[in-house]
């Protein structure tokens, strides 16, 4: 009755007869519409937030670059591997033939010389131009490709004597050497010389005529007096040559009866294959003969003569591997330990906490030392180092996991899972653990720089020694350099820069991760 009344009260156009109505969805399945947008999970959400943090992204890129360096530089060095070394070219500065032309990475080092020492260096260049004993002028020597003195920067008077401050190519500084070789090698060198036109063998020096200052130093090829000053005997008497005279240096080569220079001298041994011959070689070219390329080390060489660029790569590799394994093991142990503590609580928690307390009281340095003393001989230094890191390292992770578990274990979804009959293990790993994952990952990443630092510190203090012919760590490189870095700064600077970069970048990266994973920051951003 009422309905009919209502209908009559309505306006004319709404009066639609019943027959015109039809069911819209009869027989169809009704379901929610699918989202047009893609769902954003926890990690995707974190990734979006991480991307916004420019500093962290840059840090991550730098870390990646360092890792790529460590992996690919040894792979793409076709000339030699990490065990390649040259004892004469040890502690040398960075040198690259292309960069040398523009004055950087020229293997150079600025040093002070007195006149006598400067003449000795310049003479190496002159001597290199005088392979056949016909003499070479100062100008030829100074312009020589093998001239060690790159530039005389400054001259000043000190205590009445002139001191020259000059930049010297430390590779060419090696100059000439005496070497004892067999006949076959001599023949090979001569053949190579003819093929390439590069002079390796130089005339032997007459060490017996009183004009040779040091018979063992092949660089004294010119006539000197008893004080190593160059002399000329042209006018029948000895006369000192000074730098500005322009008087050419007079060679002191050993000559045969015809006045020809001698390149080799029989020193001993029996038959043709074992006989030894003394020769005088220009080491720079001898290196080229032996290796087939000129000495080029973009970061220089280390204290033993290894290529620092490759040493650095293997150092980064080892340090990072140690750091990452420590971080992973700590992650595992800490997660399990913390989960058990936090989930069960009560007496178990108290007991486990006490153990962790005691362990965390042991100073790391003491643990590392004791492990190194006891286990390094039988297990090797790296496993015992790992063990030392792990022994106390997981405590931080475990206490973080424990806090997270205390936070989450009484939440409704855990209760729901338990009501539905889920076991403890399932609740721990499936329901609570993923919630604390962000925190744990962050702390695991932040473990890496601290391990790198601790490793370098232990190496530096000499408590551990990870050095070897093919293996080294960043800390070992630094500790090798620590006693000699004042003379060879590149040995210290390059590993120190890498280690500082790694520390800074991992810290920035870790902080970025923390901000990305920490949901309490959601919406705080501008």
């Amino acid at each position: 009755m009422d309905n009919e009344n209502k209908q009559t009260n309505l306006p004319e156009e709404t009066k639609i007869p019943k027959e015109k109505f039809a069911f819209a969805n009869v027989g169809e399945k009704l379901s929610d519409k699918k989202f047009d947008t893609k769902p954003i999970g926890y990690f995707k959400d974190a990734w979006i937030r991480f991307r916004k943090n420019k500093a962290s992204v840059v840090a991550a890129v730098i870390i990646l670059a360092i890792v790529l360096y460590a992996i690919f530089v040894p792979l793409f060095n076709f000339r030699y591997d990490a065990s390649f070394m040259d004892t004469y070219y040890s502690k040398k500065g960075p040198r690259n033939l292309i960069l040398r032309e523009i004055g950087i990475a020229d293997g150079g080092m600025t040093r002070d010389f007195n006149e006598r020492a400067l003449i000795k260096e310049i003479a190496k260049g002159i001597g290199a131009e005088d392979a056949d004993g016909e003499g070479a002028t100062w100008e030829e020597g100074k312009d020589s490709y093998y001239q060690p003195i790159l530039k005389i920067k400054n001259e000043y008077m000190q205590a009445g004597k002139t001191v020259y401050s000059a930049k010297i190519d430390t590779y060419l500084e090696v100059g000439f050497l005496y070497r004892s070789i067999q006949q076959s090698e001599y023949a090979n060198i001569v053949a190579w010389q003819e093929e390439t036109g590069i002079q390796v063998l130089y005339p032997l020096v007459d060490t017996a005529n009183g004009y040779c200052y040091d018979a063992t130093d092949a660089n004294y090829w010119y006539k000197t007096d008893a004080k190593a000053n160059p002399v000329t005997t042209k006018n029948g008497e000895d006369k000192s040559i000074s730098l500005d005279d322009g008087v050419p240096l007079e060679d002191n080569y050993k000559r045969d009866a015809d006045g020809n220079v001698i390149y080799y001298e029989y020193t001993g041994g029996g038959d043709a294959t074992t006989a030894q011959y003394k020769v005088r070689i220009l080491y720079y070219n001898y290196y080229r003969y032996v290796n087939g390329f000129e000495p080029e080390y973009i970061f220089g060489t280390d204290s033993q003569g290894y290529d620092l660029a490759l040493r650095l790569a293997s150092g980064i590799k080892l340090s990072l591997l140690v750091a990452i394994s420590v971080s992973l093991i700590n992650f595992l142990i800490g997660a399990i330990y913390g989960a058990i503590e936090g989930y069960y609580g009560g007496a178990i928690d108290l007991f486990l906490e006490r153990i962790a307390d005691i362990l965390s009281g042991v100073p790391f340095i003491v643990v590392a030392t004791l492990f190194q003393i006891h286990l390094a001989a039988s297990w090797g230094p790296i496993p015992s180092l790992l063990f030392a890191f792990v022994l106390t390292g997981w405590i931080g992770t475990s206490s973080r996991v424990r806090t997270q578990f205390y936070r989450f274990k009484n939440q409704e979804y855990v209760m729901a899972a338990r009501t539905l009959g889920a076991r403890d293990r399932r609740i721990i790993w499936k329901h609570i653990f993923p919630n604390s994952l962000g925190t744990i990952i962050t702390s695991s990443v932040l473990v890496i720089p601290s391990v790198i630092f601790s490793e370098s510190m232990l190496s530096f203090l000499g408590i551990i020694n990870l050095g070897g012919s093919t293996m080294t760590s960043l800390g070992t490189l630094l500790s090798d350099a620590s006693s000699i870095w004042t003379n060879y700064p590149h040995l210290m600077i390059i590993p120190a820069i890498v280690i500082s970069l790694l520390m800074i970048c991992f810290n920035l990266f870790g902080n970025g991760l923390r901000d990305a994973f920490n949901p309490s920051l959601r919406g705080v951003e501008e």
């Binding site: 100073p363 004791l370 006891h374 530096f460």
Partner: protein, 319 residues
């Protein structure tokens, strides 16, 4: 509160005991080395026999503990400082370590807190960005890198300071002479960079939190100027976590920094530790290990207790 303190101290000694035991076993089973001199060998062997070093390990430990409790005897140095009690050897090295670290703390605290406060007040302005970036750099760079930079610039380039800390004889026979202080300046600088950065970061974090809290709003609404509200309310509250950290650093200076002592050749506890390993002077090594453990534990406990003293709310919560 007293009960809590007592409980913590007892627990600390228990932990110390456990760690001492483990260290003792691990150190005593190491083979000992005799000096080259034949006469000394006989003397030392006789002394070891008399001191019970040839007894079973458990009895040795009993003797060790008895000597500590009855005579405060932690063993004897056998090579670093021949036949001196290990306790004395360590205590002799304490003063230089403490001095260098104390100077560094005195330098770091005002700078650290000052910069932190500045960064927090100017949050998100250029001052904050500059300070925060520098802090990030300085916190991350290892301390030995600073040591080299300091040595390089202050000694090699400028020549203002000596390379190493003077020995006692060079500096006039006392640790407190002006000359000694002067030679300690480079290591103090090297130590301070990291400490300042750490303190700045901590202060900034704590102060920004208190600056945005409700009581600051209240303080401002009731008419305080920004400076008044900051110094009277925010800074005071921010100090609750900062002060314990500073207190623990003061205890930490006993331990010092091994690496800095090594680089600047400071004859301190850290250098002694390294020397005791290289010279295999195990009684000194043992003493030094106990010392480091004790300092670490003490710092932890003092932080916890000082929280209670500084902030009454935490004390109340304990009951």
């Amino acid at each position: 509160m007293a009960k809590y303190v007592l409980k913590r101290i007892l627990l600390m000694f228990f932990t110390l005991f456990v760690i001492t035991t483990i260290c003792f076993v691990l150190i005593r089973i190491l083979p000992r080395e005799l000096p080259q001199d034949k006469n000394q060998q006989a003397l030392i062997l006789a002394r070891w026999e008399a001191l019970g070093y040839n007894e079973p390990l458990l009895i040795q430990y009993g003797i060790y503990l008895r000597n500590i409790f009855t005579a405060w005897d932690f063993g004897t140095s056998w090579s670093i400082s021949m036949l001196t009690p290990a306790w004395e050897v360590v205590m002799d090295r304490l003063l230089p370590t403490v001095l260098v670290n104390l100077y560094s703390l005195i330098l770091s605290i005002p700078f650290g807190i000052g910069l932190g406060v500045l960064a927090a007040i100017k949050k998100n302005k250029w001052q904050d960005h500059v300070i925060s970036t520098l802090v990030m750099l300085f916190v991350s760079i290892p301390s030995y890198v600073y040591a080299f930079l300091v040595q390089y610039f202050l000694y090699f380039k400028l020549g203002w300071f000596p390379l190493n800390v003077y020995s006692l004889a060079d500096a006039g026979g006392s640790w407190f002479t002006w000359k000694m202080f002067y030679s300690m300046i480079p290591p103090v600088f090297a130590l301070s960079f990291g400490t300042i950065a750490g303190l700045t970061r901590f202060t900034r974090a704590e102060l920004t939190e208190t600056l945005t809290s409700d009581y600051m709003l209240l303080a401002r609404t009731k008419g305080l100027t920004r400076a008044q509200a900051t110094t009277r309310h925010a800074l005071k509250n921010a100090m609750v976590p900062i002060l314990p950290m500073i207190i623990s650093s003061f205890i930490g200076i006993l331990g010092g920094s091994m690496i800095i002592e090594q680089i600047f050749s400071i004859p301190g506890v850290g250098q002694l530790y390294i020397r005791s390993i290289t010279f295999r002077d195990y009684d000194v090594f043992m003493m030094d290990s106990i010392f480091y453990t004790f300092v670490g534990l003490l710092a932890g406990i003092v932080v916890d207790i000082s929280y209670g003293f500084i902030d009454p709310r935490i004390r109340m919560g304990e009951k």
